[in-house]
């Protein structure tokens, strides 16, 4: 670990100022499960850690039937998974909050941090995309909001500008006839980076799929919202044929690479498998049998 300073601002404004003044070497410390490793192994240049966990908007989890779910960007996974409203209305977030790392990682790691880390394989990101999550950003120019699917711009890169950081993630209110699910594939049972992951959100109109959002990860430089896969499902009752069409669209959208964690062929295939699995679980959660 290179020499770093540690700061714990007590307001969002103070945090913005610290980050802006600190420049590229200033990093937001939330759960630290990615950042501390990157800094220790000197894979990034960092000289100031701005700990945002004293800021209420970054740690609060709020639910309002009209506004939906607001998760502070630094709220750790275990608190997200334990929240009654998340358990009732957003089981898709439980899927990812309970499998990012092991229990000790979930004691610290946040979905906001997972998003900001912008790994193509980040296990929190496809669910946020599928749910239509808005990312609330604070910065020197005030607040702005970006759709989750627009947030990552490449491996380890995101839309945040100088002095900006993510305050909260806002998922829209649940729909009684909707369901969502996240799944990933890893070689071990736990403690692994996804070879491929996927999330699906389905909203039903009667017995037809009203609209569908399909996201896949680890198959491109950033997690993808696959509009063609959603379109393959929308407007018709769910069937093996539409599920296969959506899976095929996910495979087609995948532009994976070969690396030590998986091959192009494996990842493209898994994108289809996981999307199909997510569709079935999402439908079941919406109360619609496949």
């Amino acid at each position: 670990m290179q020499a770093v300073k540690y700061a714990r601002p007590s307001s969002v404004e103070e945090a913005v100022e610290l980050l802006e003044r600190g420049g590229a070497g200033a990093r937001v410390l939330a759960g630290g499960t990615d950042l501390i490793v990157l800094a220790r192994e000197r894979r990034i240049d960092v000289d100031l850690l701005v700990d945002v966990k004293a800021l209420e908007p970054l740690t609060a989890i709020r639910y309002d039937p009209a506004d939906g779910l607001t998760i502070g960007a630094a709220a750790p996974c275990y608190r997200i998974a334990a929240h009654p409203a998340v358990q009732e209305h957003y089981p898709c977030l439980i899927d990812c909050a309970t499998l990012i790392g092991g229990v000790a990682i979930q004691g610290r790691a946040s979905l906001g941090g997972n998003l900001c880390n912008a790994s193509p394989a980040g296990d929190g990101i496809p669910a946020l995309i599928a749910l239509g999550t808005a990312v609330e950003i604070a910065g020197p120019e005030g607040r702005r909001t970006v759709a989750a699917e627009q947030f990552c711009t490449g491996p380890g890169r995101n839309v945040l500008g100088s002095g900006e950081f993510v305050v909260a993630l806002r998922a829209p209110p649940p729909d009684g006839r909707a369901g969502a699910a996240f799944r990933r594939f890893i070689p071990r049972g736990e403690m692994d980076i996804a070879v491929t992951n996927a999330a699906v959100h389905l909203r039903f109109d009667g017995d037809r799929v009203g609209d569908a959002r399909v996201a896949v990860g680890a198959v491109a430089p950033r997690p993808l919202l696959v509009a063609e896969a959603g379109a393959a499902l929308a407007g018709a009752p769910l069937s093996e044929a539409t599920i296969e069409k959506a899976a095929a669209a996910a495979r087609a959208a995948a532009r994976p690479i070969d690396d030590m964690r998986g091959t192009v062929k494996q990842r493209r295939h898994l994108a289809g498998v996981l999307v199909a699995r997510c569709i079935r679980i999402a439908a079941e959660r919406a109360g619609v049998g496949p």
Partner: protein
């Protein structure tokens, strides 16, 4: 489950280990836990390239950093000649190899090869200093695969290396990356194959895998002003460490004391020196104690995994399954210096089976990867993977039950192996029968995508030297002093053997592992020898005590020593006394009288026995393969093993379960992955993927007790053979589940999918 009853009081029971409380409360002192006044912290500068010449090392900027105290390079170590050797168990190891691996001189041979070391007042400063040490390299093309390395056109890793023919002792004229060629031959292999009705020939490949102990290597050294060198470290072999340091540093053995700290796993990987000579030199330069610990990344890149292998196996059998001939060619990666376990691979590859005609060739081949080190039954698992995969295919081809085929060909007492030795009393058939009779084998495996596999493995075990001192305390306990670092419960199993000899409760023997000045020479904790040889030494120390105690009782009673004997129930009995009754005194009563009847007594033993007996293991596994993802799940696992006498059955079971776990990891996910320049890609626990608790079921063990007639308590080593069969057992089960033979490890989800989805692009 234990299959036989024994006539013992202590042996075969399950007392709580003597070092247990310290280990469950965090009080036990492991190597990295040491802290000495004025201690400095050292780190190692490592090569970022796999092969190259060192043009220049400039440490001036590092030395200028506040807090940095010293920097060392290979120039600070004596230059060792190729023909200078140090002892290692029953073999010798070249000091030039040891020294060259500890710190690169002139040339780096693998990514992570040490080029310099630095020490500072704080660990963070030592780390900062690494970036300030400037090293200039001239890159050379790396040789990364054994098959390329064997080509005459391959770049040479060591220009002075010539292939040594182990059969003749002659060396080839031209230099080569092939360090050694071993041959073992028996019968007439050509005639044997000519007799066969079925001949199968297959080639198998495995990658380097790491022992994966959880505690990284560490060493603390203090070079006193009077020349005495103190070393505290995690090692499997304190005396080997001392002797190797003496050779590497050209410092008298009598001036070096190695004090073993608790050791957080080794499996063979903590025998070699790494940090100790560096910490010693840095301490000599600074006059301060220097502590060094490796990071996990360094453990992967710069300590020894076991070899990647390419093995060709050819088996010939009669129609009824009788094996008539076997040929094998084993190519093992040594890493950057000679010394792969290919000789052991040659020794083990066909030895579980009785085959009259054999020819085996083994090659020890240099590649630009870390120098391999022993790993649990070194050389045998990959060999068993090859042979027992072919055995499985043979059973299928001949429509025979896989256990029936192995029983038909099982080695028995008197069977000769290719190295010429004939087996004594062994439990090979017993293990096969134990599996055949197990509830697991008798159960039917139901459900789609599931398969069952079996494999049968062999390991020879080691004996070697051990010492023990046992002093009787006045309260009727015995302090037992040992030289074997306790890596997994050997304090308990050795103490129990002394307790059995003396006829006292296990808890009344208090074992301690001590430094090299405080006990007689004791060889490595390895080769499954510690419970065997350490226990034997403790037993002999116990016999010495029995004799001395009897003599003392005779003295007290005023009778001849020959009239007194020590009974197995810890009562010393003598001739009838004045009252007409037999004289007797218990061990405890006599212990209390020792001080006033001539003084306390110490039993001692320095023993060296070659009668370590081989062990066999038969493993049975059920798997389920997800046809959509290629993931293999282990559903059920049963391991039967000839354990000789199980001294402490819980720790015997634990050895088996641990070996199975490592073997399953090797079979399914573990491997060293290198990029095209020889840089390791997965040097972390995250990407190396050892099994977690979620990846394994409970592992059923069947302890088959066929006592070793060459040991007072029938002990056979138990630690190594359990890693031998899992690779083949899992591969055979995956074949049964999918219809595909996997001849390369790991059988990762990607590899399985590759076979399941042939048409898809």
């Amino acid at each position: 489950m234990v299959t036989t009853e024994k006539p013992y009081k202590v042996v075969g029971t399950r007392p709580i280990r003597p070092d247990g409380t310290d280990k469950v409360t965090g009080r036990a002192n492991y190597g990295a836990d040491i802290r000495l006044p004025g201690m400095l912290y050292g780190r190692v500068k490592r090569s970022p390239i796999a092969h190259g010449t060192i043009k220049r090392i400039d440490a001036s900027k590092a030395l200028a950093l506040a807090g940095v105290r010293a920097v060392m390079t290979a120039e600070d170590l004596p230059r060792k000649g190729r023909r200078e050797f140090a002892p290692l168990g029953s073999v010798k190891i070249s000091l030039a190899t040891l020294s060259g691996n500890v710190m690169a001189r002139d040339k780096v041979r693998y990514e992570g090869h040490a080029v310099a070391a630095v020490c500072a007042t704080d660990p963070h400063i030592a780390e900062d200093a690494l970036e300030l040490i400037e090293v200039e390299y001239e890159e050379l093309p790396p040789v990364l695969h054994a098959d390329e390395a064997m080509l005459a056109s391959a770049p040479l890793i060591d220009e002075a290396l010539h292939t040594r023919e182990m059969a003749t002792g002659e060396s080839a004229e031209e230099p080569s990356n092939v360090a050694m060629h071993f041959v073992a031959e028996m019968g007439d292999v050509e005639a044997g194959f000519a007799e066969a009705d079925v001949v199968l020939e297959r080639t198998f490949k495995t990658q380097m895998v790491h022992q994966g102990y959880i505690e990284p290597h560490n060493a603390t050294a203090f070079w006193r002003q009077d020349g005495g060198l103190e070393i505290w470290c995690s090692t499997q072999a304190t005396f080997v460490m001392r002797d190797h340091l003496a050779g590497l540093l050209e410092h008298p053995v009598s001036q070096i004391r190695v004090t073993p700290q608790e050791i957080g796993g080794g499996f063979g990987g903590k025998i070699s020196v790494y940090l100790e000579p560096l910490a010693a030199v840095l301490s000599r330069k600074t006059g301060k104690p220097v502590k060094m610990t490796l990071t996990r990344d360094e453990v992967f890149r710069a300590t020894g995994p076991t070899s990647g292998t390419a093995i060709r196996v050819k088996l010939g059998a009669k129609r009824d399954g009788t094996l008539v001939a076997a040929a094998g060619e084993l190519v093992y990666e040594a890493g950057a210096f000679p010394g792969s376990p290919v000789a052991a691979g040659v020794r083990c590859i066909f030895t579980a089976h009785a085959i009259p005609n054999q020819r085996i060739d083994g090659y020890d081949v240099l590649v630009n990867k870390p120098k391999v080190q022993p790993y649990r039954a070194p050389g045998a698992p990959a060999a068993c993977f090859a042979t027992d995969s072919v055995m499985d295919e043979l059973a299928e081809r001949l429509d025979l039950d896989p256990i029936a085929l192995r029983l038909k060909n099982a080695a028995v007492e008197g069977t000769r192996s290719a190295d010429g030795a004939a087996f004594g009393v062994i439990g090979s058939r017993d293990c096969l029968e134990a599996i055949r009779n197990s509830p697991h084998y008798r159960s039917e495996l139901q459900g789609p995508n599931r398969g069952r596999g079996v494999a049968h493995g062999y390991w020879y075990n080691a004996g070697l030297e051990s010492s023990a001192y046992a002093s009787v305390n006045s309260d009727g306990t015995v302090a037992l002093v040992l030289g074997s670092p306790d890596i997994g419960g050997t304090r308990a199993s050795i103490a129990m053997q002394l307790a059995e000899t003396l006829g006292i409760a296990a808890e009344r023997v208090i074992p301690q592992v001590v430094d090299t000045d405080s006990v007689g020479f004791t060889s490595v904790t390895g080769g499954s020898r510690t419970a065997f040889a350490g226990g034997w030494a403790a037993h002999e120390a116990g016999l010495d005590l029995r004799q001395q105690l009897a003599a003392r009782a005779a003295k007290i009673w005023g009778v001849e020593a020959e009239q007194v004997r020590y009974r197995d129930d810890a009562v010393i009995v003598g001739p009838a006394g004045e009252d007409g009754g037999e004289r007797s005194i218990t061990f405890t009563e006599l212990a209390a009288k020792l001080a006033s009847t001539g003084g306390m007594i110490v039993g001692r033993a320095d023993s060296n026995h070659a009668s370590a007996a081989p062990t066999f293991a038969t493993h049975l596994v059920d798997v389920e393969v997800d046809p959509e993802t290629g993931k293999v799940e282990v559903l059920r696992y049963t391991a039967a093993q000839d354990v000789g006498t199980a001294i402490h059955p819980s720790y015997v079971e634990g050895q088996i379960q641990g070996g199975v776990s490592q073997g399953v990891g090797w079979a399914l996910n573990e491997e060293y992955r290198f990029d095209e320049k020889g840089r390791m890609e997965n040097a972390s626990f995250l990407d190396y993927r050892m099994p977690t608790a979620l990846d394994l079921p409970m592992i059923e063990t069947v302890l088959v007790e066929v006592p070793n007639p060459g040991h007072p308590y029938g002990v056979r080593g138990v630690g190594e053979v359990p890693i031998v069969p899992p690779l083949a057992a899992v591969a055979n089960a995956v074949h049964a589940a999918t219809g595909h033979r996997f001849t390369e490890l790991p059988i990762s989800p990607g590899a399985v999918l590759e076979k399941l989805l042939p048409g898809e692009d």
